[in-house]
Symmetry: C2
Subunit: 707 residues, 2 copies
């Protein structure tokens, strides 16, 4: 039995030969990458269940459809996958038995997303289950949901995505018991469909500038929702464009001319029968974007639109009939969803990157082009050092990012638990870390995907490769959920405080303790050495930015302006700090792997990761005489050496991501390597291959036809 479990008769011979070179068991590495053997098992189980449901899939690739057709297709799949899943044995038999198979978090989310079409007789059962897990509502662990979404719906979203991610959880977290009684079951069953409407046309990350108002009218016990300017139009919420009947609206609460700040309101916007917008509501789609076009992002404006007092979500803040306002007890409650979303984003990015790596590395083994020595055979493009340099650092980043994602999710879960006990000690540390990770991982993933795409030449530019979709989805995350530059500056402000403590010799949080250390004289083992280099760069950049700023302050410039004057240097410091965290985590993870052959291959990937990232920051390795040029040169050679070592295992490594063809949606990345025949088949489906195209009939034929 070969170590690579994907070998099949009839595959492309180059790919099969690559697979025979595997020095490790692909199932073993698959378990490591996918979060353990049990998890891998579950992924395969769900996938097998899906395979039985042919109606969930279809033969026409999304690229050959118009946007409206894709919206239709993906909506059909959302319904079918939910209904389809009711039919599985496990779920039909007994909810509690079913629930016992999962962690509490998973059960909760599974119910949210896939049981909403249950027969009414099961409602009470469902409700019980909900209550049992309601403490964990924040987590909405999307383990199974993610498998199904990726496989059936793909990565470009669907009209109910924000309903699941934001609307339902917000009701659970911020509506009081009575309100949940009113709304939650309808929301869970999809009888109302909602989204979360916060961002405005003229206002993004700076929430304090949001203009929409909810003014309390004592006389009628209503809020008057109003959009005072064009810039106050809600803009971007997913699903708002065409799909939502309701929104959670974030608006300034005004009582007796006093602004109490932003609060969430439960607002009906479309009639549930006709889908016409309510009188006083202007709502619609905002058009196409660079990617993710199966989500109908929308706009929303109100003209003195009235909702009952009790449509304000009142779990934390309250307004009485008389207009008396009660503030929330824990102002930081709102942070948890955001932290959780960001930690999930890291996982998504690692996944997008993994897909891009499967596609580009398999294709690079199949594609032969050019000769290293003229007159010899055309070589697999994976043999070119330049191609390895494009792809393998991204391959190493997959593992580094997936590890960081797991770590930060665990930290987030633990932080949220602490918060629920009133302990917010680690919140600031974690928030800063999640800002940095969000920025670095989204940026580097999209860069590596771009390189993978370009590494596939012309075919990488075709939608048949799926690489353009992966890129546009990945790079979008550089902007949403906190624009990357803003994220880095938030981390910088945290580092600024840490640097001050380091200068003072004060006690430091573990994540920043290295700032107070000196450059080591003894370097330790191989990993220890390289991690010391990361520390040196991060420390140098942070302390340098800090000291420059302090210098300016001494010249009479206020702190905020001194910070702003050095913000580019601060962002560079923030990146180095984040990379140190990722590097440390990756090294730790590798050392924990018990299977020796898998550990060997991960060691090589970690070596590549560390040396590559250091070379990317190499201008700071020689600062203060830290490293001699010869050692920098050695690290550079380490990059190339690691690439050479990875080369024979490259295909088997991407095979271990355990992503099937159906989920991959890429002609170039097919498991069997039969790229060219299938590119030809893919092309035949292009709608431009139909007869009587308007541009030909109206404009070209009249030119060319002989009279």
């Amino acid at each position: 039995m070969p170590l690579n479990k994907l070998i099949q008769d009839g595959d492309n011979q180059d790919l099969t030969q690559e697979r025979f070179k595997a020095t490790f068991d692909t199932d073993e590495l698959a378990a490591v990458f996918n979060g353990g053997e049990d998890r891998l098992q579950r992924i395969r189980e769900v996938r097998d269940e899906l395979t039985k449901r042919g109606h969930l899939f279809d033969a026409l690739p999304a690229a050959h459809r118009t946007r409206a057709e894709r919206m239709e297709d993906v909506s059909r799949k959302v319904r079918n996958s939910a209904q389809g899943f009711q039919m599985t044995r496990k779920m039909k038999s007994d909810f509690f038995e079913f629930a016992s198979l999962y962690s509490e978090y998973e059960t909760n989310f599974f119910i949210h997303n896939f049981l909403r079409f249950l027969h009414p007789s099961n409602y009470s059962l469902l409700k019980n289950l909900m209550e049992n897990v309601s403490d964990f509502a924040d987590f909405t662990n999307n383990a199974d949901m993610l498998i199904i979404t990726r496989d059936v719906m793909g990565i470009e979203g669907f009209p109910l995505a924000l309903h699941n991610l934001m609307f339902v959880p917000t009701i659970q977290n911020q509506a009081d018991d009575e309100q949940q009684e009113w709304w939650l079951m309808d929301a869970l069953q999809g009888k109302i469909i909602g989204t979360y409407a916060q961002t405005e046309l003229g206002h993004g990350t700076n929430l304090s500038a949001i203009e929409t108002t909810a003014t309390y009218d004592k006389s009628t016990e209503e809020f008057i929702i109003h959009t005072p300017t064009t810039t106050a139009t809600k803009w971007w919420p997913g699903g708002l464009g065409t799909s939502c009947t309701h929104v959670i609206l974030v608006a300034n609460l005004i009582i007796d001319s006093k602004n109490h700040g932003l609060h969430p309101f439960f607002v009906p916007i479309r009639d549930r029968n006709s889908y016409s917008s309510m009188p006083g509501v202007r709502v619609g789609d905002i058009g196409t974007k660079m990617g993710v076009n199966c989500v109908d992002n929308g706009f929303l404006a109100f003209d003195n639109y009235r909702i009952p007092r009790r449509n304000m979500l009142m779990k934390h803040s309250k307004v009485s009939k008389e207009g008396v306002y009660t503030a929330p007890s824990h102002p930081k409650v709102g942070y948890t969803t955001m932290l959780y979303m960001r930690s999930e984003m890291i996982t998504h990015q690692a996944y997008y990157l993994a897909m891009a790596m499967i596609i580009s590395i398999r294709y690079s083994a199949v594609r032969r082009q050019g000769e290293i020595k003229p007159g010899t055979q055309e070589v697999q493009i994976l043999d070119y050092q330049t191609q390895q340099y494009r792809l393998f650092p991204g391959l190493a980043r997959c593992f580094a990012f997936m590890t960081a994602a797991t770590t930060v999710r665990q930290m987030t879960e633990s932080c949220i638990k602490e918060l629920s006990h009133g302990n917010s000690d680690v919140l600031a540390d974690l928030h800063a870390l999640s800002c940095g990770l969000k920025a670095v991982v989204t940026h580097q993933s999209s860069q590596s995907i771009d390189q993978a795409r370009q590494g596939c030449g012309g075919h990488g530019y075709s939608d048949a490769s799926y690489l353009p979709t992966l890129y546009t989805c990945s790079v979008g995350a550089c902007t949403y959920e906190g624009e990357n530059m803003v994220m880095l500056l938030q981390l910088s402000k945290y580092l600024m405080k840490a640097a001050a403590k380091a200068e003072e010799g004060a006690v430091m949080a573990p994540l920043v303790a290295y700032l107070a250390k000196s450059d080591p004289i003894e370097n330790g083992d191989k990993y220890g050495k390289l991690l010391n280099h990361f520390e040196h760069v991060a420390r140098h950049r942070v302390m340098h930015a800090y000291r420059q700023m302090i210098e300016e302050e001494k010249q009479g410039i206020e702190r905020d302006y001194a910070f702003a004057n050095h913000s580019v240097d601060w962002t560079k410091a923030a990146r180095a700090h984040t990379k140190l965290f990722i590097a440390r985590g990756f090294v730790k993870k590798v050392q924990e792997v018990s299977n020796e052959a898998v550990r060997d291959v991960l060691n090589t990937l970690a070596e590549l990761y560390l040396s590559y990232e250091l070379i990317e920051m190499s201008s700071d390795l020689t600062t203060n005489g830290y490293l001699p040029e010869t050692e920098v040169q050695q690290i550079r050679h380490q990059v190339y050496d690691s690439m050479r070592k990875i080369r024979p295992n490259a295909v088997s490594i991407v095979d271990s991501f355990d992503i099937c063809d159906r989920e991959l949606r890429s002609v170039l990345g097919r498991r069997d390597g039969h790229v060219y025949d299938n590119l030809y088949k893919w092309a035949q489906m292009s709608p431009l291959n139909q007869k009587n195209l308007p541009h030909v009939e109206k404009y070209l034929k009249p030119m060319t036809s002989k009279l």
Copy 2:
């Protein structure tokens, strides 16, 4: 009269205030950027002519159309703009008068593209004119064509793009006189529509691997065109998908089982009346791509398809009735088109980048977000140093790249002239340079456009910004016309030879003479100093790569493999060499500008360009003790200082690109700065704002509607 000529009443106030800060006359800088006052004048003249033709434009943005609708729209525009232009006074009156207004090259191209709908009585006149300029057929200068294409059709192509760029010029250059008599007039009039079919599904840049055959059959005096494998299918030619009736096919010429290598053939593929494919021909569209979807790239395969002997283009090579082959006298004839295409690509990239800069910088002056000091007013995002760092290096690159484009075009024109006199001395130097420029400029432009897009936050991700289109068009050029990594390796091979000469002390071509110099002790003036730094980095990288390779050779590794083992280092050397060329050209250009105020602003941009690119390569500035860290630090400060100096002029600089709103197609980049109202209007046009969307009717309403 304010120095900025774009100020108008009623504009966004922030933008107007920016414009009042201009320290130079925007018309003066516009002339510099656009190639002189005459050229600027002509651009505006053509634009005014176009403005009179409302039927050339329309209100519905391309983003709101399906691909087939966009193909229809752009085909309509191609016809209308050609017909429309017949109506202009200058062109109606007298061809020779008209021709006298232009350079010979321009006339030639203008005729190709816009006079093909002439009344038959003018054919002989046209033919005379063609003959007068036929020596210059290679140039196909696209000056006016470009203005019209950009303004009317936009940057995403049209079905006749390759007809104009490749099909007609190939007939002119490679068909003999009799063949031109047969085909050229039909091609010029669009009675036949063609493209250039070279690349195959399994074979890109390595032409020697092309499989398609044209086997001569003496008995019938025909060639049998055949596609022996799936991988031999022609793939990618623009216009082939749905629009072409003919192609220039590149195939292996086989006579009596002997392969004479690749030759061009004139091959009908579709019936001119019905547009059905000919029997024995399989042709169609290859589907959507990341961008440029108004071009119908296609596939093409032949099953023993016969064409007459005289359909082989026989200006250079010939096959007699009896099957006797005559080889061409000048084997390098084919290089000229490629050189010209690449020099044109540099211009296009500078233009895409200029558009992205207009959009992002105007929007950054209009957009206010966040406070530098909490509690103060929200600031224009252009005031953030991090935003300036995202945008201003790209702004400087616009000028650097436009200058490089002009230089390399002039070099190309002069090289082609020399070639026509049998002198190919500079061909190798120019070819190497054009490879490097193509790779560096496309890569850096797409990167800067990406930064500009991300700098616009969420709205930059919307197609309303036009930035996604600019990015996908720009980044596509990293792949087509020679994949960038291959380009850099071609330049590297040239540098490898130059390095050997430098080691030997042999005479060097001017572009590489610096390789034999030592690091200077005296540094010269400010520019001299910075250019010396560029030389140091390029020299260090080239010579280091070379010496590593020689070391390996000494250990018995063959040259080709030793080169391959260091190819990543070689690509880095090739980039540094190219950047040196761009930097030198930019400095020279700036020093030639006579208007002092304009020269001042260009000086600041050049300073930024030089210091920014040096910092990007700063790890090599300290090698061999070349620069102390303190001086590197000074260069870094120079970046920030230059950005501060550019800030007040930033809007006026982009205004000077002289690209009008209609051409810009961006809601964010509007001249008047009325971004938000127009984003709202743009969104209303989304087709998803129609009633009765299938996904809502079929899948959402059944969930939400109350029974």
